[in-house]
């Protein structure tokens, strides 16, 4: 009887933990501390896996030419590459060049709008991962004043 009760309690406890942890379990991929912590652009780019990513006309990267407010620079990335699974954004001259990654499940359109901080005038790169391959588009954004101040 005790054993059964214990099993039942364990079951309940597990269910409770599963319930409480649900919003966290929704994060399918762990935030990659080492990758996001890379301060050198070349190292971050390589470590991300985009070293040989070709430039693609099928990625629309929309940025302002001049950032009026470097603390909130609007960026739109749209991928027309079939099977887009992930969109990431880098700023080459930011102290931490990898700014964000978006994981795109089936059914979600591979188009994302976000606002970034830019430390100085820099090339902004959008990377698309599709079918395990990487593609990129880049645009220079001129910064007047600093975004990290």
């Amino acid at each position: 009887m005790d054993a059964m009760r214990r099993t039942l309690l364990h079951g309940l406890a597990a269910a409770l933990v599963a319930f409480v942890a649900f919003p966290l379990r929704a994060f399918a991929v762990e935030w990659d501390k080492a990758l996001f912590g890379l301060a050198d652009f070349a190292a971050a780019w390589r470590s991300y896996g985009a070293t040989d990513a070709p430039a693609s006309q099928q990625i629309m990267l929309v940025t302002p030419d001049v950032a009026e407010n470097a603390a909130t620079v609007p960026i739109d990335v749209t991928s027309h590459i079939p099977g887009t699974e992930e969109i990431a954004i880098f700023a080459e001259k930011n102290p931490l060049p990898l700014i964000c990654r978006f994981f795109i499940p089936e059914g979600t359109m591979p188009a994302i709008s976000v606002r970034l901080k830019l430390a100085e005038t820099t090339r902004v790169r959008a990377v698309v991962r599709a079918g395990g391959k990487y593609y990129m588009a880049a645009r220079e954004v001129r910064v007047v004043g600093g975004g990290c101040a």
């Binding site: 919003p23 930011n94 964000c100 499940p105 059914g107 188009a111 709008s113 901080k117």
Partner: protein
Amino acid sequence: MAEAIKMRAQWRDGVTEIRMLIPHPMETGFRKDAVTGRAIPADFIHTLSVRLNDRVVLEGHFNTAVSMNPVIAFKLKGGKPGDRVTASWMDGKGEQRTDETLVR
């Protein structure tokens, strides 16, 4: 306690557009306090997850250079008015917040 996510989900012609503003300081860790000169510690959202009903429709991983009070917009095929959109974030301090809205 962090402020609620401001979120809108609008359905049109078979496509649901989700827009949100997430109140959060998104401290980079690179700034110094103007008065004391001490470094202000980093404090930023690193993970965002958005669900439509029970299906994950977007997952975002952020670094310090996503703007203060992040503004995110994206679209998905399907959805319908009345569907529930849930957004959850977690920051480096372990703070988290979940808010929801209905597709209109």
